[in-house]
Symmetry: C2
Subunit: 235 residues, 2 copies
């Protein structure tokens, strides 16, 4: 019997996945990439499962939604953890490449995977599933055209770090827009059209020529997330 | 190592979950409750995973989306399976309460769970996870006001059949409208507000007084699904 409770939660408006990770032996929990509008849902679920929220963990400073961290921290006293070098004024703790976060017997290893933003982390849970944030999406990847994004850096993060995990590693991204809920490293190595058959140069060329609209919420989301989701900006 | 590949796929328009169940040792697969508009996505995924689709299985005749079965059958030669007594003119096979469908070592047991419709089945996968269709949703249940639905019958199906499964049984519904992706029988017994603290009589009273709009697609979906998703109605 595993101690791990692992659950995906979806925000339909921003197509964001929030992940609940809990150790059932100590009833302690982490939320990864919580969404402000879903805080009530997430608090209700934590209550129903009898879990104490210890950390809110971000893969990066998001541009498409406001983090629920500030409200969750207010409600539960949890700590807000963000990647080192993330531009935030309010984190309780920064996490760096290779650092281990422990939740009872559960281990969460931070993997620096910049490129979508310059301070992006993926998180490897118990060595067998990886939360890939916006670095690696299912058959896709995050954009690299703002927030200090860099296509070559993203190519290196995905091909040299994520794609060197074992093929059977489960992949859980921060977003999906087509109804997929999970994948594996082996599947993405074989079928992710952003990377298959592209070298670093042609990947950069491809990403540079993508024409994408600004995320609807970027003007409010980035500054708010730099304040850990404090919308008023007073904290 | 388990032979089971299990994956949830979501259709955002109708908030429907389709489930892919596959035996990796024989590369044979089943889709439960496929959605017409997602057939291309599902065929692509089957191809990428190297799986042969053997069956499309329905939990019931849906009113909110058109099944992908006819198109998937055309494309793959799979068989369309529906619950016994479902009003369909085109099923390749009917499945009855207690019947076992085998996929290599994987067992799928049909559990008659009428009430949302009169021919609804839940499917218990390998004894440890149950696809509950519209009988039991996460903290909710399907409506009972059309398609020969009956609130008392649904109450019996949920409380006497689904809630008597072991508490740790994983619950995967046919729909979710709040971003939940899974639950357990124990959780639903404790927190499903439709059932907690209600006896059969007060459940019937509650369901009878629910005022719900018609599903947007009911006029086209039900007749099309009675033809297994043949939109033209010629099959």
């Amino acid at each position: 019997v595993s101690n791990l409770l692992f659950r995906s939660l979806f925000d339909a408006e921003s197509s964001t996945y929030t992940y609940l990770i809990a150790d059932v032996s100590t009833s302690s929990a982490i939320l990864v990439d919580p969404v402000l509008e879903q805080v009530d849902r997430d608090l209700k679920l934590l209550h129903e499962l009898g879990l104490t929220l210890r950390y809110c963990l971000e893969t990066h400073v998001h541009a498409d939604h406001i983090t629920g961290t500030a409200r969750l921290r207010e409600a539960t006293g949890c700590l807000g953890i963000v990647p080192e070098r993330a531009h935030t004024a309010c984190a309780d703790r920064f996490i760096q490449d290779g650092e281990l976060l422990k939740l009872g017997p559960i281990t969460i290893r931070a993997m620096a995977t910049p490129g979508h933003t310059d301070s992006h982390m993926a998180y490897l849970i118990n060595g067998d599933r990886v939360l890939t944030g916006d670095a690696l999406l299912i058959r896709g990847c995050g954009r690299t055209d703002f927030q200090s994004g860099d296509a070559g850096t993203l190519f290196d993060s995905v091909t040299e770090r994520l794609f060197t995990l074992p093929d059977e590693t489960l992949v859980y991204p921060a977003h999906d827009y087509r109804g997929h809920t999970g994948s594996t490293i082996g599947e993405e190595k074989q079928w992710n059209v952003r990377f298959v058959g592209r070298d670093r140069f042609s990947f950069i060329e491809f990403m540079t020529h993508l024409v994408l609209p600004q995320p609807k919420k970027i003007m409010e989301a980035v500054p708010a997330n730099e304040r850990c989701g404090n919308v008023a900006g007073t904290a």
